[in-house]
């Protein structure tokens, strides 16, 4: 059982650790798992999270940076004061736990609908859009000479990737075709400045507490590129969870996001942000198609995947609202 391996592991690197308790699987697919557990220690209990690929699942999917890079990025973010969990240990072969890392558990909520509706977050909500701007500014300023090896992306490369993914689905969608044309016609060219891009910064990948953003999670799509990509992705309608008049994750306005970003000393290019919002909406639509394909091809017949496949039309209406809005 995983308890035994975790107990042996923590004994090696956590001073005074006497064992682990409360081990529970949180989420993840076959190739990547998240577990929560507590480290018993004479001074009390340390809440921890294990992120790992089990043995035999070492190879990262093409777009993912890999768990080792994720650990390095989270630790860099933590040291730079960007809300992030502290990485306590990067797994080694001795741990016999596969590849991945162990981080300190940050208490709070990640479920977007709860953050948007529960009273507990009512005081934080009006400040989140601006705060997110500040967090993104800090993230885009992480020192590039300390970053792990990451792929370098441009708008043109991303359009090419998405077009290839979409065509491989053999799933003719006039709205997606129109969007691919629009993206090529509006490609703003290489960014004036290349920075670290989180790649999946959105409501759902943030730990939120009553005091606001406590941690940024899921760095696996991190890459180098146009920082405006993160600002566009956080505005994609799919991450507003019904609060469609509050573009920034359902929390607030673009103006608040931009103000928070600029107050932290970085410049916003709103037309690039809009471009990346369109790109991001298409990206999620194509990911829904990927879910449909996996549903068909995989033996487990996951109903959840089947239903995510049927959510592509949500991105089609959002793309039409962006590209061909009807008279208000």
């Amino acid at each position: 059982m995983i308890e035994a391996e975790l107990s042996r592991s923590v004994a090696r690197w956590c001073p005074g650790a006497t064992g682990v308790a409360g081990v529970a699987r949180l989420s993840g697919g076959a190739s990547q798992e998240t577990w929560r557990f507590d480290i018993a220690n004479p001074d009390g209990v340390i809440g921890a999270i294990l992120r790992r690929s089990p043995k035999g699942y070492g190879a990262a999917p093409t777009r993912a940076a890999g768990l080792a890079a994720e650990a390095q990025l989270m630790q860099l973010a933590f040291e730079a004061g960007v809300p992030s969990p502290r990485v306590m240990h990067v797994l080694t072969p001795d741990d016999d736990l596969g590849t991945g890392f162990i981080m300190q558990r940050v208490e709070g909520e990640t479920i977007a609908r709860k953050i948007l509706r529960d009273d507990e977050f009512a005081a934080a909500r009006p400040h989140l859009a601006r705060q997110i701007g500040g967090v993104l500014a800090g993230l885009h300023r992480l020192p590039q000479d300390k970053l792990p090896e990451l792929r370098h992306m441009t708008a043109a490369k991303e359009i090419g990737d998405f077009e290839r993914d979409y065509r491989s689905l053999d799933w003719p969608k006039p709205v997606f075709e129109l969007t691919l044309r629009w993206l090529r016609d509006h490609d703003p060219g290489p960014a004036s400045e290349t920075t670290l891009v989180h790649g999946d910064f959105r409501n759902g990948n943030l730990i939120i507490g009553a005091d606001g953003v406590r941690a940024v999670l899921d760095w696996e799509l991190a890459h180098l590129g146009d920082p405006m990509e993160d600002l566009g992705w956080v505005c994609v309608n799919s991450w507003r969870f019904g609060e469609i008049d509050k573009p920034v994750g359902g929390f607030g306005s673009r103006e608040e996001l931009f103000a928070g970003y600029e107050a932290a000393g970085r410049k916003v290019d709103p037309s690039r942000v809009k471009f990346w919002e369109v790109m991001g909406t298409l990206r999620w639509g194509i990911m829904c198609g990927g879910m449909m394909q996996r549903f068909r091809e995989s033996p487990d017949h996951s109903m959840e995947r089947a239903m995510i496949g049927r959510r592509a039309s949500e991105t089609e209406i959002d793309l039409l609202r962006l590209l061909a809005p009807r008279g208000s």
């Binding site: 003719p172 006039p174 044309r181 019904g242 959510r311 039309s313 949500e314 209406i317 009807r326």
Partner: protein, 125 residues
Amino acid sequence: MQDEPTPIELTKSVSDFLRNDIAPLISGHQAFKLRVAINILDLVTRQLTREEGSDAAEVERLRALLGMDGSVTDLNRTLAERIAKGEIDLATPGLAEHLWATTMDKLAVDQPSYASYKRELSRGG
């Protein structure tokens, strides 16, 4: 011709049974999966109810737009190809209206509670 009850009546009866009699009995992850299952049956029921009419209207629009005849699948494929080639775009009369009507028909089946859909519906469909 097949006998009755119709597929719509049949799927609806299963969905009602699961929702009213089974859902209250279970909890946790199985309850979550049951909700997904019920959502699937409801989607299928909506599609069975609406598909014939919306496909016929879509084919009608596609014929006018493309100047050719074919099945709804073939015509969609052709439209996608022509947009990809740049032969048809938003300046083409009827394209935006067609895409809006088609997308609204899809949301009516896939996700009628989606906020963007409800907003556009309140504008008059």
